[in-house]
């Protein structure tokens, strides 16, 4: 039980640091005498903001993002694989072929279902 005193102490320090920094910043930061709410308003390319940022996006964006992740993960695994392939031998080669073919099936699925076509209903 005694060993957890350290943990508690550590937790207190973390809490103190997080809250303390915020309070300190509040106390010593520069206060703008010409504060104007319009100046800190978000803007859209210099225009006045129109509407809310919480609007409906086309589902296609999500699909494209998902398919991007598919290939991104593939590449992330391919780089270390290719660098150490000479040491790993045939088994690693076959394993990567299986992995790539599974990912290829994912792409084929998106392709056959027409998710890669941009103009669709």
């Amino acid at each position: 039980m005694v060993s957890y005193i350290n943990l508690l102490l550590f937790f207190c320090i973390v809490l103190l640091f997080a809250v303390g920094t915020l309070i300190l910043a509040k106390l010593i930061r520069y206060q703008d005498p010409n504060f104007d709410p319009i100046k800190i308003q978000p803007y859209e390319c210099g225009e006045d903001p129109v509407g809310d940022a919480w609007i409906r996006f086309s589902i296609s964006f999500y699909l494209i993002a998902l398919i991007f992740v598919l290939f991104d993960v593939e590449v992330a695994f391919l780089f270390p694989w290719i660098l150490s392939l000479s040491k790993l031998g045939l088994l690693a080669f076959i394993e990567m072929l299986i992995f790539l073919s599974i990912l290829f099936l994912g792409w084929l699925y998106a392709f056959k279902k027409g998710d890669l076509r941009w103009e669709r209903q």
Binding site: M1, Y4, L105, L108, Y109, K112
Partner: protein, 478 residues
């Protein structure tokens, strides 16, 4: 090296075959997918009987012992019954989406098969997620029905919170012991300290969500009500059995040093789950909600096996899984058949069912008696044995409570039977014709419940065999 993984590899290869078939098949010919899925499951069930699938892989973190293989066979049977019961459902209501439906079921099955074999918490977690995520999708598969979407959101939110809890528990377990793997050759004595108990509590909560034990059961009725019924038959059985499989393996093998602590928690969970499930089932007017609450009550009875903390309790829990599988899946499949005929899940649509469908109402009666624990169907033996195990562990009071609640349960089970056989209902007397697939799957469940009730010895023998090598670091190949 890959021999213990034979079942999983066969399932994966078959799954990709069905996947490709789904992509290149004409929209109107997709009904064959269900039949192919069923054949695949039967083939894998056949492979699982072979003795060569036993062993360990990945330096002991993946174990295929008789416990894991028996549970995998149960999952295969449950998935097979669900697929068989879904064929005409998907053909009618999910046109063009059959492929996704069957594949998601199979992905979930693969997750279950991995997770009950895991002796390492991260592998267990990956299998657990592979099991859960398809369930979230399938719960909302009836896209046009707002209740289905509501139920899907509920199971998703509860499921993700439980996953987060599991990860937190795994982290604390790692902090306490310095390992995420466990082998029975070395007891994890480091767990005997506050951090180990904390890990135990958080992991128990994480698993509790999945098996829907008492404080975590809120998603169950809504999800069951909204989701497609043949899928609910699957959801109410297979993931629960998988959750218990993980609980048993993890608690009996890894958390052995803490056994006196977790049996105490398990007994409280069991008692509260039994009480809540049985009492909340009483006022239900919808058959799927009623079966959902009765399912929660059964989770409580199964937790008694964990609470007893002995091998005897484990064996009797495996027996209970078999009984619960056939009775509960059968009851949900009958609910699907009645829904197909009357368009409603209300209990009133069961009025005078025996005039309209004698076979169907007889089957329902058998399932209800089995769920209620009336002698000479399998549910009776299941309850008897699990009470016996709990009594042997010294929990006489809980056994009395359970027996009392069984009487309460009979009220709502027999209420349905009363509606089917005795109540004078209005008009409707047209004969209900069953789709072929549903009549086969309901027939299999009925036969299993009755025959295994007359000859429970076979299942007891299987259960004893399943537990015999449990907890040994290298399973014997017999």
């Amino acid at each position: 090296m890959f021999k213990p993984l034979t079942l999983e590899i066969a399932l994966t290869v078959g799954m990709f075959g069905i996947f490709l078939l789904d992509l290149f098949l004409d929209r109107h010919k997709k009904r064959v997918l269900g039949i192919f899925t069923l054949l695949l499951l039967i083939v894998i069930l056949g492979i699982s009987i072979s003795k060569s699938v036993y062993g360990t892989a990945f330096s002991g973190t993946f174990v295929s012992d008789s416990f894991a293989v028996t549970l995998k066979q149960l999952f295969l049977i449950a998935t097979g019954l669900a697929v068989l019961g879904s064929i005409s459902h998907t053909e009618k209501l999910l046109i063009g989406r059959e492929g996704e439906y069957y594949l998601l079921l199979l992905f979930s099955l693969l997750g279950m098969m991995i997770t009950v074999s895991a002796r390492e918490l991260l592998l267990l977690f990956v299998g657990f997620e592979l099991m859960s995520i398809p369930l979230y999708v399938l719960s909302g598969f009836d896209k046009g029905n707002p209740r289905s979407v509501e139920g899907a959101l509920k199971i998703f939110l509860f499921g993700t919170v439980s996953s987060a809890l599991l990860l937190l528990g795994i982290g604390i377990f790692f902090a306490a012991t310095g390992t995420t793997a466990w082998h029975t050759t070395r007891a994890l004595d480091e767990l005997n300290d506050p951090l180990g108990t904390l890990a135990l509590i958080i992991l128990l909560a994480g698993f509790g969500f999945k098996i829907a034990a008492f404080p975590f059961q809120f998603w169950v009725p809504d999800t069951y009500e909204g989701a497609p019924t043949p899928f609910v038959a699957f959801l109410s059985v297979a993931p629960k059995v998988a959750g218990f499989g993980i609980l048993f393996r993890f608690f009996f093998e890894a958390l052995e040093p803490l056994a006196s602590t977790w049996t105490l928690y398990a007994i409280w969970l069991a008692a509260l789950t039994m009480i809540v499930g049985n009492l909340l089932a009483l006022p239900q007017r919808n058959i799927k909600r009623l079966l959902a609450y009765s399912g929660i009550a059964h989770i409580g009875y199964m937790l008694l096996g964990l609470a007893s903390g002995s091998k005897f309790g484990l064996e009797m829990s495996v027996f209970y899984f078999v009984a619960y599988l056939f009775s509960n899946m059968g009851a949900f499949l009958v609910a699907e058949a009645v829904h197909r005929a009357t368009g409603s899940d209300d209990l009133d649509s069961y009025t005078r069912l025996y005039r309209r469908a004698p076979f169907l109402s007889l089957a329902m009666l058998v399932f209800l008696l089995s769920l209620g624990g009336i002698p000479f169907v399998i549910g009776f033996w299941a309850k008897l044995y699990i009470f016996l195990a709990a009594a042997e562990a010294g929990y006489i009071f809980i056994v009395l409570l359970g027996a009392l609640l069984t009487v309460v349960a009979l009220f709502y089970y027999l209420n349905v039977a009363r509606k089917m056989y005795i109540d004078e209902g209005s008009g409707e007397n047209s004969f209900i014709s069953l789709p072929f697939d549903l009549s086969i799957s309901i027939g299999i469940c009925t036969l299993a419940v009755v025959l295994l009730g007359l000859y429970p010895k076979g299942i007891v023998w299987i259960a004893i065999k399943a537990i015999s090598a449990f907890g040994q670091s290298n399973p014997i190949i017999h």
